[in-house]
């Protein structure tokens, strides 16, 4: 079996486990079998094993981290999001309902990546920088935090709309959910800030300028400003829980466009590495 075939096999094995995890979460939460939640978490965690192996094989195969192709970028983003989800659920078991949103989002991201061109590409000299590693790492952490904020916002809206069910009842009240949503946004904001900061240092090292209004740089700034508007508006104008949830969802959509869509559309220094 070729290394690429091994990678693909491990990736799809992980997808199968994750789908199993979603089904188990749904069964435990919607059909009120809380004792099955631990199994759902373990099923998802087990899925991380082939996923990690697949990413490690990819690393070994191409000789660099998941920076270049949609295939590897999206897969690693999904990995980070799922790890963050499991860590959060490990700390807060009562929040298992988040998995019903975050896990499918991560699977979607991974599945989308798996259907793109998996050709291995060598790392150009400008990308051979430690700052790039931090830039990418914090970007993935930001995506993970934003995925969790999205999940939290959707669950919050469900509660606000009067939806009931055992899985929703297990979650804390609206005020805690809202605070948690904003805290996820806050962590994502911190990671996004760091992503931009590290990227600036790297850009200065590579091109002699820390900011060049490159389209992806600009979109990254716009996303950061959108989250800043959300955080300021909540503080200044006392946004209610529903407004906060919708604003979080809108900001998430913008962040997805910036990270996953715009680099593949706009000609930019970033897109040179993604558009293939």
């Amino acid at each position: 079996m070729t290394p690429f075939a091994q990678e693909i096999s491990f990736h799809w094995t992980a997808v199968v486990f994750y789908i199993g995890g979603v089904i188990a979460f749904a069964y435990a939460l919607i059909f009120a079998h809380p004792n099955k939640l631990a199994q759902a978490k373990w099923l998802t965690a087990v899925g991380l094993v082939p996923h990690t192996v697949a990413l490690a094989l990819r690393y070994h195969h191409v000789g660099h981290g998941p920076y270049m192709m949609k295939y590897e970028v999206l897969s690693s983003n999904a990995w980070i999001a799922i790890v963050m989800l499991l860590i959060f659920l490990w700390r807060k078991p009562n929040w298992s309902a988040l998995a019903l949103v975050a896990l499918p989002a991560a699977i979607l991201m991974m599945g989308f990546g798996l259907f793109t061109n998996p050709e291995a590409r060598s790392l150009p000299p400008t990308l051979r920088s430690m700052w790039l590693v931090f830039h990418i790492l914090f970007n993935k952490l930001a995506v993970g935090a934003f995925v969790l904020s999205l999940a939290s916002a959707i669950v919050l809206l469900r509660k606000l709309n009067g939806a009931t069910g055992r899985w929703l009842d297990r979650l804390p009240g609206v005020d805690v959910l809202e605070a948690r949503t904003v805290r996820f946004v806050g962590f994502g904001f911190v990671f996004w800030t760091t992503t931009i900061g590290m990227g600036s240092i790297w850009a200065n090292q590579s091109w002699g300028r820390y900011w060049g209004w490159d389209p992806i740089e600009s979109w990254s700034l716009v996303t950061w400003l959108a989250y800043a508007i959300l955080l300021h508006a909540r503080r200044f104008f006392k946004l209610n829980a529903r407004q906060t949830a919708w604003a979080t969802i809108a900001c998430f959509i913008l962040s997805v466009l910036t990270v996953l869509i715009f680099p593949f559309i706009f000609p930019s220094m970033h897109s040179a590495y993604f558009q293939s």
Binding site: T126, T193, V222, F266
Partner: protein, 574 residues
């Protein structure tokens, strides 16, 4: 009256600040969407940036004053009247003297917003300085060529008030070298100059400027047309070591040059006029190629060339400082939430009244558990405040580390989450112990017995239930017939245990021990919520996971359900 006061008031208005952020965001989006980026050089963008900087300056000034005042001003008991978490209860006296302890954790969180906005202000200042006063330029240098200090840059982008970029000393490019991957893609590029080495991602500080090397490089062809006109043609790479370039003769003859080596001994040449191919061949260094119409082309050399980028930005350190402050401030804002605690103990004869309050700086609803933990500790604490204070200093640091670890050290934790867990057997023992202690408390009518196994929530509920029975002159004699643990979930400090239980109950008259009413055999599906306090698992709450199956048909006593502290089926479960 301060004449600037109205301006300051305007600049710190929330609507103005939000408008500024939104305007910058719109400019960014338009600049990214439109093909040219003149928007970032427009007057209105400059005005918005200036307005934003002015607002930031006002906000930073105010935040500094506020943070300084709050830092120096410890919280007073009066401030805790508005605390989101506060409670008051009585307990047996531990001392005859009144005590009061007020303390704060994660005080650095106070400076988060200040540090963040200061960083932004520095960044805007550094960016504006660069746009106004700093010049940038690029130059393509051949091996052996010297870049003269003045006017040698082939392209310059001076700031509005910037002087042309110039080095203080001449710079000679000595050699260009690169390495490639097996598939032919460029791996590394570096140049040796008279001032030192410059590589991709490794700048050179030289002559008051910083010199950077991009990825543009290749062989060049030093051509001589008709023994009179000389020209240097820079061949560029297609990404896989295929280089090409072109030159035009004084008479309009176009010559296309190509090679597939970085240091070629010659080039493939195709001479064309319009679309007509007039000649094709190889031109080696030092040779002359005769072309139609009496023209000739000589190749005098094939040195490598590389493109250097120069910049003399004296505020780069300021921009970096701004970035560091912005990142640090953002992290402080969301990871360090200042918490103010207050514990006031007032002696009341044999008892004492304990007032506990917690006031988080932000995200108050998320600190409910923390507050409950303090209350539990105070409830079981017989030695006063000092021990608790010690514990909180520890937990403050621990919580900070925990937050950082949770956010950054992701991979390992996911796999180690199964370690150090309460097993099903241990969970069963915990539930058995709880039931044993609580049954004994019911039997004796002594609520103090439950202290070692329950937290405040459940303790309050049980105190009410046992008290109601005592008021009615009965005690409960219960026996656990069967217990199966069907699920265990554990977080760091909380444990959820799901059980199926069968119980036998009978109520006994205090004094005579005579049975009151009928006995009952019940079956339950229960969920126990344990919390870890000082390494002990205490029951914080119990809920029915399914409607209870109660054996007896009549309750032998009647009580107002409103007094039963929310217990749904008090007659069924002790």
């Amino acid at each position: 009256m301060n004449p600037f006061a109205p301006i300051k008031r305007f600049l710190r208005k929330p609507a103005v600040i939000l408008g500024e952020i939104a305007a910058v965001a719109v400019a960014g989006a338009l600049g990214a969407l439109l093909p040219d980026r003149h928007i970032f050089q427009s007057v209105w963008f400059a005005a918005v940036t200036m307005l934003t900087a002015a607002s930031l300056a006002v906000v930073v000034n105010e935040q500094f004053r506020r943070a300084w005042w709050q830092w120096r001003q410890p919280p007073s008991p009066a401030q805790f009247q508005s605390a989101p978490f506060k409670t008051e209860f009585e307990r047996l006296a531990t001392s005859a003297n009144p005590r009061q302890k007020i303390w704060s954790e994660r005080r650095l969180g106070l400076a988060g917003s200040l540090v963040f906005h200061t960083g932004l202000l520095l960044l805007i200042f550094a960016g504006a300085w660069r746009a106004l006063f700093v010049s940038e330029g690029t130059v393509d240098l051949l091996e052996g060529e010297t870049l003269a200090p003045a006017a040698a840059w082939s392209a310059q982008w001076p700031g509005v008030f910037g002087k042309p970029l110039r080095l203080q000393q001449p710079l000679t490019l000595e050699a260009v070298s690169g390495s490639r991957y097996a598939d032919g893609h460029l791996r590394d590029l570096r140049v040796k100059s008279s001032a030192g080495e410059i590589a991709v991602n490794r700048q050179l500080d030289f002559g008051g400027s910083r010199l950077y090397l991009g990825q543009n490089f290749g062989p060049s062809a030093l051509l001589e047309w008709n023994s009179t006109r000389r020209q240097a043609v820079l061949l560029t790479d297609d990404g896989r070591q295929n280089y090409s370039g072109e030159s035009t003769s004084p008479n309009g003859l176009r010559v296309y040059l190509s090679c597939n080596a970085e240091r070629p001994s010659g080039f493939s040449v195709r001479a064309m006029r319009g679309n007509a191919l007039l000649a094709a061949g190889t031109l080696d260094v030092g040779r002359i190629l005769a072309l139609p119409a009496g023209e000739s082309l000589a190749l005098r050399g094939a040195p490598m060339w590389a493109r250097l980028h120069g910049c003399a930005d004296s505020t780069l350190w300021l921009a970096y400082a701004g970035m560091i402050l912005t990142m640090t401030g953002a992290a402080m804002m969301f990871c360090l939430i200042k918490l103010d605690f207050c514990v006031v103990i007032t002696p009341l004869g044999e008892k004492e009244r304990v007032f506990i309050a917690l006031k988080p700086q932000r995200f108050a609803p998320l600190f409910q558990e923390r507050f409950e933990k303090i209350v539990r500790e105070q409830t079981s604490n017989r030695s006063g405040v000092s021990a608790e204070r010690r514990q909180h200093i520890g937990t403050g640091t621990a919580a900070l580390c925990r937050d950082a670890a949770t956010l950054l050290l992701l991979a390992g934790l996911a796999f180690t989450s199964g370690c150090d867990r309460v097993s099903q057997t241990q969970a069963k023992q915990l539930v058995e112990r709880y039931n044993q202690v609580v049954s004994e408390a019911y039997r004796r009518g002594d609520v103090r017995l439950i202290d070692p196994v329950v937290g405040p929530n459940e303790g309050k509920k049980l105190t009410g239930l046992i008290g109601v029975r005592l008021d009615l002159g009965i005690t409960l004699d219960s026996q656990l017939l069967a217990l199966d643990v069907i699920g265990v979930e554990q977080a760091k400090d909380s444990l959820l245990v799901q059980t199926k239980e069968r119980w036998s109950y009978r109520d006994l008259k205090i004094g005579t021990g005579a049975q009151v009413g009928e006995a009952s055999q019940d079956a339950y599906e229960m969920t126990y919520y344990f919390t870890n306090v000082s390494k002990a698992w205490l029951v914080d709450e119990i809920k029915f996971a399914a409607p209870p199956q109660v054996g007896r048909t009549n309750t032998p006593w009647v009580a107002d359900r409103a007094t039963l502290h929310g217990t749904t089926t008090t007659e069924a479960k002790p």
